[in-house]
């Protein structure tokens, strides 16, 4: 589906990361990885540190820290908010939804619309589209939360996934304004590829049981249960290489521009390796493609895009305007890209919980 929006902009981005930091090299000792293998993984994939919540903390907790910060520092007034959108795949409960929890916690007015969206790696794009659509229909200011704490779903004995998983939250304010530069987005889906990223058990199709908790070797020395996240690295790599370059080409054609018109490409951050290969394939300069989030924070699913913005572009976005190409790809399979002009922001920062 293609989208275009006028008269609405992002006016602030705040990321919240857990202060709890894990170190890849310390963890690799526990995995019995040879020094050569650890070094190679660190160098190529960009593994170094990742942030995970301390036990018992959830995506709502991170979002609350963020919203409190915005209220306390005068960046946001409760009475100005028209709607709350919470994008997550690690909700506190099946029922009620995270957006309702935030609504109740902060005692928002009855007219504030609440919506949860179940999306992952492309969740920032999908969430922004939803925010823009609400503003198109009359809303003034939307609080978009992207937050996930998937670390508790990753087996600590899964050497493919544990070193790179991260938890985080981001709050993006989207509001009506006189922005004349149209925001454009294209999102595509391929449900037939959904098995590349899944948590097989724990919900309704395969409820939790004794069986679903048993750790099994996947044939390469990684142990996980049916309640753990499983990612098919090969399928994902091929999917990204084949589909993202044409998506970006389609986006620039839709916008009537070319790739050189973008100041930066801010993509979902699975690992440094895939982003370097993608930049090569797209034939865009490596310096324009942000790829340093995994090494400091890990891969926090839909939060990596706003995290990449706050980690790299804070200074620039405090005073100047940038034209960004955002792209999220993964769970679903979903892949989406957005051409968006971001004017100087009211705030663009990272805080810890």
């Amino acid at each position: 589906m293609n989208f275009k929006f006028k008269n609405a902009s992002i006016t602030g981005v705040l990321s919240v990361v857990p202060s709890n930091t894990l170190d890849f090299f310390e963890e690799m000792d526990a995995f019995n990885f040879s020094a050569a293998r650890s070094r190679k993984l660190a160098e190529v994939m960009g593994f170094s540190k990742h942030r995970v919540v301390s036990e018992g903390k959830t995506s709502v907790d991170l979002a609350v820290v963020g919203l409190k910060h915005l209220f306390d520092h005068g960046f946001l007034k409760k009475e100005d908010v028209s709607g709350i959108i919470f994008v997550t795949q690690s909700p506190d409960f099946f029922i009620p939804a995270n957006s309702h929890i935030l609504h109740g916690f902060f005692d928002f007015s009855e007219d504030v619309f609440c919506l949860d969206i179940t999306q992952g790696c492309a969740g920032y794009i999908v969430g922004l589209i939803q925010a823009f659509m609400q503003i198109d229909s009359g809303a003034e200011k939307i609080v978009l939360v992207n937050a996930d704490t998937l670390s508790s779903k990753v087996s600590k004995q899964d050497r493919n996934s544990w070193p790179l998983i991260g938890d985080a939250a981001a709050i993006t304010i989207v509001e009506r304004d006189r922005q004349e530069v149209e925001t454009k987005a294209i999102v595509k889906f391929r449900g037939s590829g959904r098995h590349a990223l899944q948590i097989p058990a724990g919900a309704f199709r395969e409820p939790p049981s004794e069986f679903s908790k048993i750790l099994k070797d996947d044939g390469t020395g990684n142990l996980r249960s049916r309640e753990n996240l499983i990612m098919d690295g090969t399928a994902i790599f091929n999917f990204v290489q084949e589909n993202i370059p044409p998506l970006i080409d389609q986006l620039v054609e839709y916008s009537g521009i070319s790739k050189v018109d973008f100041d930066y490409f801010v993509f979902h951050q699975p690992n440094k390796f895939m982003l370097e290969k993608l930049a090569q394939k797209m034939e865009v300069p490596q310096e324009k493609v942000i790829k340093n989030v995994v090494e400091s924070f890990g891969n926090s699913s839909g939060v990596t895009i706003p995290l990449a913005i706050t980690h790299n572009l804070s200074e620039a976005l405090n005073s100047t305007s940038l034209r960004l190409c955002l792209a999220g790809f993964g769970v679903g399979l979903t892949w989406g890209a957005m051409d968006i002009q971001i004017s100087p922001l009211d705030f663009c920062k990272i805080i810890e919980d």
Partner: protein, 71 residues
């Protein structure tokens, strides 16, 4: 095939792979090296190899044949 062997040897950090050597037995065969190999094949030959296809492959010769068949 020679350049192919050299590249695979480099990725898997062995002195020189034998064409009929079982790569999956090597210390460095893991999700990262698999990705590096796939990336190399994509860059060099413009071909993509899928998970199910890799499941049945163990040696450089088998991999090379698969790549050739897709050209």
């Amino acid at each position: 095939m020679e350049k192919f062997l050299e590249k695979l040897s480099d990725i898997l950090e062995v002195d020189l792979l034998l064409p009929t050597q079982d790569m999956k037995q090597l210390d460095l065969w893991d999700s990262l090296t698999v990705l590096s190999i796939l990336a190399y094949i994509d860059e060099e030959f413009g071909v993509s190899v899928e998970s199910p296809e890799l499941a049945n492959i163990r040696t450089p010769t088998e991999l090379f044949s698969l790549v050739q068949s897709k050209l």
